[in-house]
């Protein structure tokens, strides 16, 4: 499944900025950054739960916000892409 992870992490304190970096890093392990605080991750149920658990451990629920959306298939119809950034489909042929 494709999920969308978005977050607002308070950057007012050094601890907040640290959380922000950690959240981004955690998301990268599961997917790709599509916008500044938006990640698309193709995961299975286990992956989703692991990521969610991991993120909840990092963020501070009093100051930050985390939203995880699940996108419905078929993705080609439900996800539209505009502008200069093109997401990589990790399930398409990967050739560098």
């Amino acid at each position: 499944m494709l999920i969308l992870v978005t977050y607002d992490v308070s950057t007012e304190t050094p601890a907040g900025r640290r959380r922000l970096r950690q959240v981004a890093k955690a998301c990268l392990n599961y997917g790709q950054r599509v916008q500044k605080s938006v990640f698309e991750c193709k995961v299975d149920q286990a992956g989703l739960e692991a990521l969610q658990r991991y993120l909840l451990k990092i963020i501070c629920e009093e100051e930050d916000s985390l939203r995880i959306y699940r996108l419905t298939e078929p993705l080609e119809r439900n996800v539209q892409e505009f502008g200069k950034f093109r997401a990589v489909d990790f399930e398409a042929p990967l050739i560098v």
Binding site: K25, L28, N29, Y30, G31, Q32, C41, K42, V43, D44, G47, V88, F90, E91, A92, P93, L94, I95, V96
Partner: protein, 344 residues
């Protein structure tokens, strides 16, 4: 349903692969080209001078993610694998399939269907492009005959019958090949019938050389997915013979090798001077000729086609890898039967 993991192909010289957290980064000249979470990648295939950090190798081995090293031409060099892998099961499945006459027949038939269908495409294209109606008609006639052979394949009850249809099909196809050579080249490339060991004319020398390159690529592709390249279905097992690579190669002969041979001839990129005759009538490409062919072959592999089954564009050079994966899936029972690559 089991998820099919992706294969990362790294073909850029001097690419550098390293781990970053739970992701694999591919850097070229210190610039990050791709960052993929490890959970998407089932194996890594590196062509030529690709650097992999020890951490990448260890992590892949640990997770049972195959790492395959090929040289720049795609020839198999090494495979790095961890202690536990599905490899033995795949090989066992392959051996079981070879022992099961029905499964073996199915795969052998698919290989021949692929070969003849793709050969027929070459003839039909020739018929469309032919300069005179006589050639067009002969090519159309030959492609009708080929279509007949293809139609008979589902009824072939044993391997011998399949091999018979393949042989007849190949004969029809090769008999029509001279019509695909441009008239002003027919004197130099007077191809009559397939001859090998040794090739007796320039066209045979050319396609023999191309087939050698191609069988190497197919062999690498099979080793890459962990199949035993020596145990074939259509081709009988013989010591030292890469029978499965020859099976896999059938569908690619017309579209990769033969088509390229014809292009090189018709464009005048190869001439009489690129060949040499030896005693006993053998004809071979000389060094200059080999260079021309190798360059063209590498370029051809860069071209992209749409894979009808995957509905994705794939570089021609990667087709054997894609098909080897489909073959492995068939042998593991994840696919009902092997589906060859059919051009267009």
């Amino acid at each position: 349903m089991r998820q099919l993991l992706n294969t990362l192909f790294v073909t850029t010289p001097n690419a550098y692969l390293r781990l970053e957290g739970e992701t694999l980064c591919v850097e070229v000249e210190r610039e990050k080209r791709l960052q993929v979470p490890l959970h998407h990648i089932g194996s890594v295939v590196a062509f030529g001078d690709v650097m992999l950090t020890p951490a990448v190798l260890r992590r892949c081995a640990q997770d049972g993610r195959g790492v395959v090293l090929l040289d720049r031409n795609g020839e198999f060099s090494a495979r790095i694998e961890g202690p536990v892998s599905g490899n033995i099961l795949l090989r066992q499945a392959q051996h079981d399939a070879a022992g099961n006459s029905l499964t073996a027949l199915g795969i052998a038939r698919a290989c021949v269907v692929g070969k003849l269908r793709n050969a027929r495409q070459i003839l039909l294209r020739g018929a469309r492009e032919a300069k005179n109606t006589e050639d067009t008609q002969s090519l159309q006639q030959a492609s009708r005959l080929l279509a007949n052979q293809i139609r008979k394949l589902p009824e072939a009850v044993d391997l011998d019958a399949v091999r018979g249809l393949e042989g007849d099909g190949a004969r029809i196809y090769f008999a029509a090949i001279p019509l695909l050579i441009r008239a002003n080249q027919r004197q130099v490339f007077n191809f009559e019938r397939r001859s090998r060991r040794p090739p007796l004319d320039r066209f045979n020398a050319l396609i023999s050389f191309l087939y050698t390159l191609l069988v190497n690529d197919c062999r690498s592709a099979l080793e890459g997915v962990g199949l035993d390249p020596q145990l074939g279905f259509l081709h009988a097992v013989r010591p030292g013979r890469p029978a499965l690579a020859l099976d896999l190669m059938e569908e690619f002969r017309p579209i990769i090798a033969d088509r390229l041979a014809l292009t090189l001839i018709n464009r005048g990129q190869l001439t009489e001077q690129n060949f040499e005759s030896r005693v006993g009538g053998a004809v071979y490409l000389n060094e200059q000729g080999r260079k021309v062919v190798l360059t063209a072959y590498q370029q051809r592999k860069q071209e992209e086609l749409t894979h009808p089954l995957l509905e994705q564009t794939v570089a021609i050079g990667l087709l054997p890898h894609v098909q080897a994966r489909l073959l492995a899936r068939t042998l593991r029972g994840e696919m009902e039967g092997y589906l060859p690559f059919l051009n267009r």
